[in-house]
Symmetry: C2
């Protein structure tokens, strides 16, 4: 008998009808002879509605109270899913994050899981129950307070439970059929990836592919959890995200997929004295402001001016904080100017086969040249190449690169209703 | 420094505006130099909306899951109230029933409090916090499950916390100014009662006065908690419900108030063999069906027929169950007929002074006679007389009796917006 963890996001449980459909899906898995543990998000817009109420009564939300408020959302959906499953004739019990043993640190709003003690879930499963667990939420032991895991938290809850319960697979239900070689909304001929290594999946997620949350993917990789990303609307097999065992030889495609990202901005620090230690000084200032830097380029010092420019990319949402932090340190660092460019796009190609294959960058740059794209910055990892370009060139570039690497499918990908989690 | 427990019902926290008004009220109490612990119900229609969702996904709700679902309601309101209080510049923390130490039995939907261990609340108060607690909900230790206290549960939560914390007073905020000598919607000249003993309050509540929940009143009486029933809309003093100390001599009015009740029905079991043990047999059957009987009348056996009729009153909502239980036992008991009368009204006069005063019943029956009312059944306690009459005569009878006992005020009572808890 297998143990399957299934995760359904907010759009999958948006209303009573959706909840009944999800319940049917869960029961089918149980009746196929599996033990089933389900993780659910809050219904559709519940979280937004609760945030609106919070904004009406208070301007500066206490994180502890906000977590208390928002966790009501999954409490509602999990109880309703349990009721719907029971009305299909199966025993079911719902558990909050705290009852499920999801122990976190005390960082309200962005808590990290420190331990999972799913004793009550094991017991409930052993009694024949289908177990429904609230995603996104946990519990801090030292304060006794309820916490939330932040964005994508329900995916992480599901993966963490799958790891702790030693589940055979963690199924992530979403509004697309699986992971595609590119975003089907941008590249209509994107093809579904049937199997992808967790390492590649992580690079894709970090490069802007939204189908799987980065933190959940990383957790799955570290704990050896096999993921199955599939549609909550159709019964098709989706994408298996697997963890190659040590020494396993896998026939890997050179390029597994391409991803685009419009959520970053570029800051250029101009007129930096070209003396040792200045870059370190800049990035120490930025790191102290808790900013996540992605790519960095230091220009060659121009003709004996004794000055240089340093550019880096970061999430657009964090740009103002970074600018303020740098501004405050301007006289210390001694740069002349700061410039913000929000109009950039990042294109990444990912593939484990790159390790053993040469010529990928040449092929990429040729495709981009033919698409008329100017490359602004480049960064690479062992299995990824990312380039920064003008934002308005990104989609066309994605389609051209997708074709150039032979990823096009013969059929157009179908995108189902719903807007994801 | 006093410790005050304040309870706000669903209509007092129905929306963001109401929550902000309640927060102001709470902060005023704190700034007057008191420690404050607040108990809140779910916002306005939240409970109904959650029940609607439950009805859409399931027809036969598992009580455990229903409790899980419904307790999301107070979780939302308590977090919002805490946020609103904090935005007025005071520290505040919210606690679920389980965090507040509200330990109950395992009877989902109608759990009874078995112990209150408010250690975390005491700590939070000592740290200077205004403490906000979810009403209506508790926690069963042996199952580890969340429970709810049933109808009027938030009043009971507040009183139980006040008892456990040894609070100076438990303020119950409602949509009327306090407890009146009669329902102001029926008797416009009803006057506000400034002080009433818990015993009288209990008789009034049991007689249909809706301003205070019976269970909460009983809990307050048993644990010596002083209640203050007051309006959440105006700052007026309301009604103090006090517990006379042993041997305390109190100048008590003969009649404190009158109450009407249209929620009962009468069942008549006709043609019952007039032999010993038949009444016991009937009420054993009814009790086994978990029915709450109020008044009982056994008619005098009519002219040697060897048969008698037994009538009793009960909540109309339980009438069908009672009829079914009796029907099933008809051949055992040997009665000939069952009749249901839903068209009855109960009028009660309550006053601790009755104990030492005679003539109250004569005065009552005269007033009813003058109002043209036929009395159907009578029952009395030490401090109460109740009579059953036709439902359509009840309101007029209440006004006549109110006047006859000299309870009329010179001014009309004001009933504020809102529809109670």
């Amino acid at each position: 008998m297998s143990l399957i963890v299934q995760k359904f996001g907010g759009s999958s449980v948006a209303d009573a009808e959706s909840i009944k459909r999800v319940a049917k899906r869960i029961v089918e898995t149980k009746e196929a002879g599996n033990d089933v543990v389900v993780v659910v998000s809050a219904m559709g817009d519940t979280t937004d509605e609760l945030m609106d109420l919070a904004n009406e009564v208070s301007s500066n939300h206490a994180p502890r109270e906000l977590d208390m408020l928002l966790t009501a959302g999954e409490r509602i959906s999990m109880a309703l899913v349990a009721m719907a499953v029971r009305s299909l004739g199966h025993d079911a019990k719902s558990f909050t994050g705290s009852q499920a043993g999801m122990i976190t640190d005390a960082q309200h709003g962005t808590a990290r899981i420190v331990e999972v003690t799913p004793g009550r879930l094991r017991e409930a499963v052993a009694e024949g129950n289908i177990v429904i667990v609230a995603g996104f939420q946990g519990f801090n032991r030292s304060t006794g307070d309820i916490t939330t895991l932040g964005r994508g938290g329900s995916d992480t809850s599901a993966v963490a439970l799958a790891a702790a319960l030693d589940a055979d697979v963690c199924e992530i239900y979403t509004d697309v059929d699986g992971v595609f070689t590119a975003d089907p909304r941008v590249v209509p001929n994107a093809s579904k990836i049937h199997r992808i290594s967790s390492e590649e999946m992580l690079e894709l997620a970090a490069s802007g592919a939204k189908v799987l949350n980065i933190r959940a993917t990383e957790y799955a990789r570290r704990h050896g959890v096999t993921l199955h990303v599939r549609s909550s609307f159709v019964p098709n097999e989706g994408t298996i995200v697997y963890n190659p065992t040590e020494g396993e030889t896998v026939e890997e495609p050179i390029i597994t997929g391409v991803a685009g990202d419009l959520s970053e901005a570029k800051i250029t620090v101009a007129g930096v004295p070209d003396v040792p230690g200045k870059a370190a000084q800049i990035f120490t200032v930025v790191a102290a402001a808790d900013i996540n830097i992605d790519m960095i380029v230091q220009n060659v010092s121009s003709g004996g001016s004794g000055q240089t420019d340093i550019s880096f990319t970061l999430p657009t949402a964090e740009a103002d904080d970074a600018l303020a932090a740098l501004k405050a340190a301007q006289s210390d660092i001694g740069f002349s100017d700061l410039a913000l460019d929000e109009n950039i796009g990042k294109l990444s190609v990912v593939g484990a086969g790159m390790r053993t294959s040469s010529g990928v960058s040449a092929q990429l740059f040729t495709a981009l040249f033919e698409a008329g794209v100017n490359i602004d910055m480049i960064s690479t990892s062992e299995i990824r190449i990312s380039v920064i370009m003008r934002a308005d060139q990104l989609n066309e570039a994605l389609r051209k690169v997708h074709t150039a690497f032979g990823l096009d499918s013969d059929v157009e990908a179908v995108v189902y209703a719903g807007t994801g989690r």
